[in-house]
Symmetry: C3
Subunit: 275 residues, 3 copies
């Protein structure tokens, strides 16, 4: 069934912001989108990115965009520099054979996703005819990013929106280092369940080597396949659904119980012992 051909193109716009869920900001953005593209499907990803936390938003972006159909448009607004000289971008990228378009500020938000793209081109948003007639100095999500995204969803070409962007702002994200056969990384996100995903990816491990996972002075043993491989309440390490080495607690909150925070160090030690 996968790859089934549909007669109608997808006209999908997703939204990720730090605007919260209590105010009218997100509702106003959606109204603007539907004014330009009334037939669009609007999808909330999350609006609870910690305020101004560009790094968390950038890592989230890389976790959902690849699951959307080709042709989707993704608005991401975590924008501490709104109203300053920071640039606004539209970026079209090729990812596993699908084409996605991002609309976001030039502050590193797109960086982790661009690392996975086979190709991309970016333009600076400079054509006010695609914006709201009056642009505020504090809410470009509503006044610039969303109407541009809706026009892109209608099928307009990227070059209509402005000139090539050249070099983009990069994001400083925690890396890993290797000491012999040890791999040392950091916790980069803690999810709703308290699961702690690290900067170490499945592809960073050396094939054929068995590892033990250490965090906060505690040996979690080998990488497990799933939660049910340990007793209820026990800590474990496994691959997250995004392919990262992750620390979890079966039926519990690992971050709280183990005292883990973002940036806590995590270590994989090679062992030849059988698991």
């Amino acid at each position: 069934m996968w790859g089934f051909a549909f007669p109608l193109p997808a006209m999908i716009i997703t939204f990720l912001t730090d605007f919260g869920l209590r105010d009218a900001y997100v509702g106003a953005m959606k109204g603007v989108a539907l004014t330009v593209a009334p037939q669009a499907t609007l999808i909330d990803i999350t609006h609870l990115v910690p305020p101004q936390d560009v790094r968390t938003a950038a890592l989230l972006l890389a976790d959902y965009v690849p699951f959307y159909p080709s042709g989707s448009v993704h608005v991401a607004v975590v924008d501490p520099g709104v109203g300053s000289a920071r640039r606004s971008l539209a970026i079209r990228l090729d990812l596993d054979g699908a084409q996605h378009t991002l609309v976001l500020p030039d502050n590193g938000l797109a960086w982790p996703l661009l690392q996975q793209a086979t190709a991309y081109r970016a333009v600076v948003l400079r054509e006010p005819r695609f914006w709201l007639p009056q642009v505020s100095s504090t809410f470009h999500g509503r006044d610039i990013f969303t109407p541009v995204a809706a026009h892109l969803a209608l099928g307009l070409d990227l070059v209509e929106f402005g000139p090539p962007a050249g070099e983009l702002v990069r994001l400083e994200i925690p890396l890993l280092r290797r000491e012999g056969e040890r791999i040392i990384g950091h916790v980069v996100t803690i999810d709703h369940f308290g699961n702690c995903a690290s900067s170490i990816r499945r592809s960073d491990l050396v094939a054929g080597v068995n590892y033990e996972v250490w965090i906060a002075g505690r040996n979690l043993g080998p990488l497990r396949r799933t939660f049910a491989d340990v007793a209820p309440g026990a800590a474990l390490a496994l691959f997250s659904s995004s392919g990262r080495v992750e620390v979890a607690l079966r039926d519990g909150n690992a971050a709280q119980v183990l005292g883990i925070t973002c940036d806590t160090e995590l270590e994989l030690r090679a062992t030849r012992a059988m698991n």
Copy 2:
């Protein structure tokens, strides 16, 4: 106007999970749904079920599914056993003349709703051609349940997805007991307002008998029709919009003020006195 016939079939998929609202999990699921069924209408029910709380999720499911049009597909993922031997199900049920399809783990989630169905058939999800090409061991919501739901929304028959499920896992939910004309039940859910719904349903009351409602040593008097039947700030008992005996506080939070928690006992005492 009700029962009006439409030319197009509904292609509706609802989502209930304990995934929270901060992460990319829900966003990834929706992307998978739209990849299979780009024209589907995706509806968030809630993603704030307390982590791993199957009972709360099961009671919620029975409160919204009956209000959806025939042909809707409902994904429910509260899944402490993900990655273990627990089975994955698709269940088609008849409810008040409408047909609904559930896609969920076999852990009791569907149980309260099935009690209300006139008929149902269930299959075990065994056909990987309807799943994501790569299935993680921790996120079957994205990799199995959602793509199956989207194929079901496209109109595929239930039997395509796997063999009959036979006996399903049941849910232990609090019941009520009767002592003479007294009916003793428990609080089963506490909502956002602090309203406390119990295991006693409208249909459990004996016709022609008047009752007084007691909870936490306090007499709330007879069952009222609505909040405005008592003074602001006063406690009352009434039927919830789901037909359960419920304890509330007019313009206030009953759970907090009266110190009620899930499983607090509630009692209906018969009285011949006029209300």
Copy 3:
């Protein structure tokens, strides 16, 4: 591109409530809407209005409705009087050349938006044929407002739903007073970021006069254009994206840091000094 004509009419229904995000209430409402109008686009504005806080909901309503396309229907349910004698309304209004329909209780919710309308007519909901067959006494959002909204989205005329409403309930909202060239107002909403919007609007300022903004004994200096006009962590005053005088903290939470709450007084003092 703005004003582009589309062949299909918008069939958009938005929802604003104080129902929270944990329960099945919102999910049940959406099911009712899709049963009547399966092709409708359903939009969540927010469900986190503080319980029974009609004033906050009314101010939010005025912040998003104007951004929706003509023909949209807006359900707003913050309804402390549910089940009492308070009336249920449908109101059609003209706003900047677009036509919107509101469906809500007659408790002042619509008041700020009606102040901006060039014309409106209101009817009392009295025709049970557009309601659910069984109407509960505590959940008119599901049983009356939503099915009425969905029938309105299908294109039925307002007069079908009941008789003219006559005088509507007004909302007491904080005003401003002038003492010479000083303008004294109050904080009316505090958003997710801690930004504090006041009752003073851009149009209340006297042209050609420069102002300094004072709050909680502190001089915030002149009205700035955007956050980046002050140093990180510094307090400032600027126009909100809704055109209100607003107090903010660059990259921080003004309400928390400055100790501002709803109803805190804010003052604009005229000054001839250059900014």
